[in-house]
């Protein structure tokens, strides 16, 4: 199952503009821009919520 996980920029301590794509919990290497990636935005529109970033 496809999921996304937010990423923290450890230098700024802010959430990155990119989220990691996960398939069955495993990173695929695909990183989507959370503001402009149409596939990610459509996934959000379906009511999905990304995993929180690691603390």
């Amino acid at each position: 199952m496809k999921m996304y996980k937010l990423v923290k920029n450890f230098i700024t301590n802010q959430i990155s503009d990119y989220a990691m794509e996960l398939i069955d919990g495993v990173p695929t290497g695909v990183n989507v821009n959370i503001h402009t990636n149409e596939e990610y935005l459509a996934w959000l529109d379906e009511g999905n919520t990304p995993e929180a970033a690691d603390a």
Partner: protein
């Protein structure tokens, strides 16, 4: 004898300069994603050869796309073409459309003044080759795709290259993106268009048309082929010679929208002094159109084809963690690694690529 006057004939036709072609990769030379390999059953929207993509309303019919599919001899002066081969035909419903096209960036079309009384005429030219004959279609559209110019063209002889030239008076109405990085003009070639999405050929309309009325549906014939190359959209009322640009120049133009960064061996990195997280920065080959919508990283690990942060002297950690993009803009991006064990917090680190490990970035329209 010294030259004292430049005669008009010395300048060739109306546009003797380069960069007259608003289409990028019109000679189908650049294929970064596939390197000439077959693209099986592309799904909409999917980029094919560089800057050319597929748009459709349905996952059927299916077809393959390949640079130089079928290995026919390209038209004189060209070495490559984009080839479509149907693998599973289907008749489009009245509202279906299947097309290959290119969105042209507004910065490269703003001077045409479309949507104003000063709209300039352009000429679209291209070479086509098909197993089918008859009338085929396509369209030009604005960014919102609510103003369009459906067109038709004829392929009179099967399996023979035919050059098509269409002169198009610029639209004086419709909303057109100006000098921005958005879509200035869409240009599409129909593979199949339902009846309600076909419009009167050769005129502008405040409708979303994808082909001229009466266009042949290539998708309706199994094993049908459709090849295209030498695509040029230029200012003026006639087609001039193809705008051949140096390979490196054409590649750089494509890299504004899609780039591959082939990492190999070591790149610089640094570590956080507050947690076991590491970061390394890379520059794009050229300034991207916009901050990429997608950046794809190689698998994290210590085997061939994988990347891992290492110690400052190049030693692998006991366990490679997870990689993500911590920041990016149109010039660069940063890879961050977390969840590592065996690296020292606060110490220098390198990002090591075991073999060639491509990173891809897409800022396509």
């Amino acid at each position: 004898m010294a030259l004292t006057q430049v005669q008009p004939g010395m300048l060739g036709t109306t546009q003797p300069y380069n960069f007259k072609n608003r289409i990028i990769n019109g000679a189908m030379v650049i294929d970064q994603r596939n390197a000439g390999g077959i693209i099986t059953n592309p799904t909409s929207p999917q980029y094919l050869l560089d800057r050319f993509y597929y748009r459709s309303t349905s996952t059927t019919p299916t077809f393959n796309v390949q640079q130089n599919a079928g290995s026919v001899t390209p038209p004189a002066g060209f070495t490559n073409y984009l080839g479509v081969t149907m693998t599973n035909s289907s008749t489009p419903s009245s509202t279906d459309r299947f097309a290959i096209g290119q969105p042209i960036e507004g910065f490269n079309t703003a001077d045409l003044n479309w949507g104003s009384t000063n709209a300039k005429t352009v000429t679209l030219s291209f070479w086509v080759y098909s197993s089918l004959t008859g009338t085929f279609g396509g369209t030009l559209q604005n960014s919102a795709q609510n103003y369009s110019y459906p067109f038709t063209y004829s392929i009179p002889v099967a399996n023979t290259w035919t050059q098509i030239v269409l002169t198009i008076a610029g639209p004086t109405a419709g909303t057109w993106v100006g000098a921005t990085n958005g879509v200035g003009i869409y240009v599409f070639w129909s593979l199949g268009t339902g009846s309600t999405l076909q419009g009167t050929a050769g005129s502008w309309s405040a409708n979303t048309y994808w082909a001229g009325t009466g266009s042949t549906n290539i998708v309706s014939t199994n094993n049908a082929t459709f090849y295209i190359t030498g695509v040029q959209l230029e200012l003026g009322v006639s087609a001039t010679s193809f705008d051949y640009r140096p390979y490196g120049t054409e590649l750089a133009l494509c890299q504004r929208y899609y780039a591959i960064i082939n990492t190999q061996n070591y790149s610089a990195g640094y570590s956080s002094n507050t947690s076991s997280a590491y970061s390394s920065c890379f520059y794009f080959p050229v300034t991207m159109r916009t901050t990429p919508t997608t950046i794809t990283l190689p698998t994290a690990g210590q085997s061939t084809g994988q990347i891992s942060f290492t110690t400052g002297v190049g030693g692998y950690p006991s366990a490679t963690g997870t990689h993500a993009i911590s920041a990016s803009n149109t010039s660069l991006f940063s890879i961050t690694g977390s969840g590592y064990t065996g690296l020292t917090s606060g110490a220098p680190a390198f990002l090591f690529s075991n073999g060639t490990c491509p990173i891809t970035a897409s800022a396509e329209l």
